[in-house]
């Protein structure tokens, strides 16, 4: 057992249902007790979906438990088949029902005898993988299912499109800013003269999957979802993949260059350098912002980064290489894929933090006292407590991650949005500080309560008075540094002279 207050990634069935309900006309059936169907609430409320979520719970209650689930599950599958006419029905248990160790594969076979729809059982271990891994796996499973079906039926189309084309794989419902990323990636492909063969799974029909091999390459913008499918397509059809997340001006350029080389290897003759140059210099404002005075003032400021692999790695790169910000530590909650993360951020931060325990993350933030945090909603709240601004860069999703206005994280407009996120995170913090510096001038308390509690050191009255002249937001740090210095020097009484000697000693 694990004492858990919070988790960064959801359970496996959420991942499966994100994939199933991203497709057009695919219905999910959850074999689960009452109340386990909150996926429907999340999708309806967070995505503000106008349509009913195509997921039905086949309720397991005491009665069903007693006499076995098969009849109910099969009934519900055949019923949805006739009510909704889906192309595919995906059956999934939840953590709970998966322990019943029923032969769900058999239920599926039984049901599919009388359905028009295809029926498959999502093949994931609900105790070994999380939402993200399950989503990657389920997408792969559906892709394989329809590629093999098409192969059997002789409807597989492996002829490449006449002009360069791409499958964009891994964009799903309830994904962090996925809707806007999708729009931006389509724009980018249009600018590159690349036809979008298929976006997967968001909005795709399972009938389209037989056309997957027509594309010249697969683009997998996120590390978490789509990789398995792209690998399968590479193995089966030798389709090349570009797996560089186009986030930030440097990585977007690198992604475009990788696309260029993939296309030219297949006989195209494209040169994207002028476009990269034009976008970076004139269209995107991010490269200019990096050079501008606003950004100069961020130079060397301390930040920490935490999130999923994709966003935490990309953000670390952007902060360090594009903004000159000092990333003290960067971390991911994707423990299962930690090696990738370490490789990506090597040399860009002082430390790497791999954990899915939010209290460890919170403590690491408190220890470092960065000028800004880039993390999840959890880190945003940690920041609120510590009075450190936080820009949200990764799931777990929250209603605020589904803005109505256009807010992509990827591509060139994404670089602009990121500039605002970064700039506002630092300056909003600064504004609060300025208000404190200038605001409380007439009414400042002489001695901050509890400042000298529980320490082996004594602050003299003059030392304390001087300490209290220091603005509140750095006072704690100055106090700690001074006390550390005093201990090292064997000083027990901290006077105003000791305070300034300490300041000079630490060079700050």
């Amino acid at each position: 057992m694990k004492l858990a207050y919070w988790m960064y990634a959801g359970p496996a069935h959420i991942g499966t249902l994100r994939i199933a309900s991203s497709f057009q006309n695919v219905h999910g059936i959850m074999h689960a007790p009452l109340g386990d169907d909150y996926f429907n609430v999340m999708r309806s409320m967070l995505e503000r979906e106008r349509d009913f979520t195509p997921v039905t719970a086949s309720i397991v209650d005491r009665h069903v438990l007693a006499r076995g689930s098969q009849e109910k599950v099969v009934d519900n599958i055949t019923r949805k088949d006739s009510e909704e006419h889906p192309d595919l029905i995906v059956l999934t248990p939840t953590c709970t029902s998966s322990i019943l160790q029923e032969d769900l594969q058999n239920f599926v076979q039984r049901a599919s005898l009388s359905t028009t729809a295809d029926v498959i059982l999502a093949d994931v271990n609900h105790y070994r993988v999380n939402e993200l891994q399950a989503a990657d796996r389920t997408l792969d499973q559906i892709v394989q299912f329809y590629i093999e079906k098409a192969r059997r039926q002789g409807t597989l189309s492996t002829t490449k499109t006449p002009t360069p084309s791409v499958n964009i794989i891994g964009l799903t419902t309830l994904g962090f800013h996925n809707q806007h990323d999708c729009r931006e990636l389509k724009h980018l492909m249009a600018d590159l003269g690349i036809q979008v063969n298929l976006v997967l799974p968001a909005g795709a029909s399972v009938h389209d999957l037989a056309r997957l091999p027509q594309a010249w390459f697969n683009l997998v913008p996120y590390r978490e979802i789509g990789g398995l499918s792209a690998q399968y397509l590479a193995n089966e059809f030798g389709m090349p993949s570009v797996t560089i997340t186009p986030m930030g001006v440097i990585e977007t350029a690198r992604c475009i260059r990788a696309i260029q080389s993939v296309l030219n290897e297949q006989g195209a003759d494209v040169n994207y350098e002028p476009l990269i140059e034009h976008q970076t210099r004139d269209v995107s404002q991010a490269a200019w912002f990096s050079r501008s005075i606003d950004c100069q003032n961020l130079t060397g400021k301390k930040a920490v980064v935490f999130g999923d692999n994709t966003h935490a790695a990309a953000m670390t790169k952007i902060l360090t290489r594009e903004m000159g910000i000092h990333v003290v530590w960067a971390g991911t909650y994707c423990k299962y894929d930690a090696d990738w993360f370490r490789t990506e951020v090597t040399g860009l931060c002082d430390e790497v933090l791999i954990t899915d325990d939010h209290t460890v993350v919170g403590d690491a933030i408190a220890r470092v006292e960065p000028a800004a945090i880039f993390g999840t909603q959890m880190e945003r709240h940690v920041g609120k407590r510590l009075n450190i601004p936080c820009g949200v860069i990764a799931a777990p999703i929250h209603i605020q991650d589904f803005p109505v206005g256009y807010r992509p994280f990827l591509g060139y407009e994404g670089t602009n949005q990121l500039v605002d996120l970064i700039y506002n995170s630092f300056t909003l913090g600064m504004e609060d500080h300025l208000l404190e510096i200038f605001g409380g001038h007439d009414t400042k308390e002489v001695i901050h309560k509890g400042l000298s509690a529980a320490t082996d050191l004594t602050w003299t009255t003059d030392g304390l008075a001087e300490l209290n002249k220091i603005p509140g937001f750095v006072r704690g740090k100055v106090k700690r540094n001074t006390e550390k210095f005093a201990r090292e020097q064997g000083i027990t009484e901290i006077t105003v002279e000791v305070l300034y000697a300490a300041k000079e000693a630490v060079g700050a």
């Binding site: 057992m1 694990k2 004492l3 858990a4 207050y5 919070w6 988790m7 959801g10 359970p11 496996a12 069935h13 959420i14 007790p33 009452l34 109340g35 386990d36 169907d37 909150y38 429907n40 609430v41 999340m42 309806s44 409320m45 503000r48 979906e49 106008r50 349509d51 009913f52 979520t53 039905t56 719970a57 086949s58 309720i59 397991v60 209650d61 005491r62 438990l65 519900n76 009510e83 939840t94 953590c95 709970t96 322990i99 019943l100 609900h126 105790y127 070994r128 999380n130 959890m378 709240h381 777990p396």
Partner: protein
């Protein structure tokens, strides 16, 4: 499958394929209500993710609840349940030192047949903190019934008078009302009450509502000895054979049964104090039980209705469809019919006809008084079938769970989340406006948006 209800109310039963929240939700309000408690939900990642999503921001505030997340080793019984729970409870004791740890059993503990009731007494003795076990699982219960499982378990822990040296000390409401008063004043005040057997109310309500209902009964000379739950576990009300008990919510049938059977209390069967009509009936039932002539109750009800006049304008003649979610449906339907609305269907997850008997009776009477046909009550509804009926009936308002609200709105239907009635303050005379505030909000909103010119957005 149709059965005959009291007064020929038609109760049907459907497939049970409906959406509602998991009964472990009750943790969200109970941990706040009982300030010295800690709730430990023993379940899977699925349970944990539900809690953090359903309760949104609350998790950030270092709540007094957590998951005991079952991992593969727990499921396959490779680990010792007792040792695992002990480890976690000791950590909770160290970090938070609560007065009680409530173990919330889940579907998973049911399926793997974890013997929580067997483990708790042993561990309680070993670590020195009371452990209360509630099986708030989705196999047996729906949404608000989670509270019922917890209160039923706590009812067994209420002290008897002999176990308590100073009862006054243990009545925090009384103590609060007496705070700062001199002893003689307190005694003078006691004479304001009729002499009646002790009365304990059950049901978790926000503190201000507890105060309001307590004051309402004080007006009739009825003294409330205690509430289950109390604000602190250490202040659980004294309960003994012959005490009278009354519930304030329709989903507390197990708690009622436990108090009657295990603690030999007398249950006052009354409608629930929701709406001016229900509140009056509830107070009357209590008065009647104690042989007290109610004072000014009809006037109080009438005045309350007067204050609702502006809202009544808006709802009169409008129709409403309850999809069923929190077991408050019968009481709300009864009140809305009294307000002049028409009720097409009352979906409800579970219907205890004995515990709700007085409420069902009041519903029948109300229908008769308002010349309203007896509405169909659908137990364990099937949401798909309901949506077909809604499409056909085109009600003015659908009261529904969170999963269906947006799609219905997109189809031009006005909706209200049923869950809001669970969290809002709706009990007693003073809060009747709040119910209508919620009910009329979609109606007022869609009136305000008339100028937009777009009804359907799919």
């Amino acid at each position: 499958m149709t059965t005959t209800a009291p007064n020929a109310l038609n109760v049907e039963c459907e497939t049970g394929n409906y959406h509602t929240f998991c009964p472990i939700s009750c943790v969200a309000w109970l941990y706040q209500k009982i300030e010295d408690s800690f709730f430990l939900v023993i379940g899977t990642k699925t349970c944990g993710y539900f809690l953090q999503n359903a309760m949104g921001v609350m998790i950030f505030a270092e709540p007094r609840y957590a998951m005991a997340e079952l991992e593969e080793g727990d499921i396959s019984a490779q680990l010792n349940d007792y040792e695992e729970l002990k480890r976690l409870c000791l950590q909770i004791k160290r970090d938070r030192n609560p007065s009680v740890i409530v173990w919330i059993g889940t579907c998973t503990t049911e399926i793997i047949k974890m013997d929580l009731e067997g483990l708790a007494p042993k561990l309680e003795a070993e670590i020195g903190i009371p452990i209360v076990v509630a099986r708030a699982n989705g196999l047996d219960y729906a949404f608000t019934q989670g509270e019922d499982t917890v209160l039923a378990a706590m009812a067994a822990r209420c002290p008897t008078p002999t176990a308590v040296t100073n009862t006054e000390e243990r009545n925090p409401i009384q103590r609060l009302l007496n705070f700062g008063k001199k002893k003689e004043e307190v005694q003078a005040e006691a004479s304001q009450y009729h002499d009646h057997p002790p009365l304990v109310l059950f049901g978790s309500l926000p503190d201000p509502v507890v105060t309001q209902l307590t004051l309402e009964l004080k007006k009739q000379g009825i003294q409330v000895s205690g509430w289950l739950p109390s604000k602190r576990y250490t202040e659980l009300p004294v309960v003994d054979e012959g005490y009278y008990v009354a519930g304030v919510n329709p989903f507390l049938s197990r708690t009622a049964t436990t108090l009657m059977r295990r603690r030999k209390c007398n249950l006052i069967n009354a409608p629930f104090p929701i709406g001016p009509d229900g509140t009056r009936a509830w107070v009357e039932a209590l008065c009647t039980t104690f042989g007290i002539e109610p004072q000014g109750l009809a006037e109080r009800e009438a005045q309350t209705w007067e204050k609702l006049a502006d809202y009544l304008e808006l709802v009169r003649g409008k129709s409403v469809f309850f999809m069923g979610d929190n077991l408050l449906e019968i009481s709300l339907a009864r009140f809305l019919i009294r307000c002049g609305m028409r009720v097409h269907e009352i979906g409800i997850p579970y219907m205890d006809k004995r515990y709700q008997a007085a409420e069902l009776n009041l519903l029948s009477q109300t229908c008769a008084a308002m010349d309203h046909p007896l509405p169909t009550i659908v137990e364990k509804p099937d949401n798909y079938n309901q949506l077909q009926r809604i499409k056909a009936l085109q009600p003015d308002l659908v009261i529904t769970g969170m999963a269906h609200a947006n799609p219905l709105e997109a189809r031009g239907m006005s909706t209200k989340w049923s869950v809001e009635f669970t969290f809002a303050q709706i009990h007693g005379f003073g809060n009747a406006r709040d119910i209508l505030e919620l009910v009329t909000r979609p109606l007022r909103r869609n009136q305000a948006l008339a100028g937009l010119g777009w009804q359907q957005l799919v």
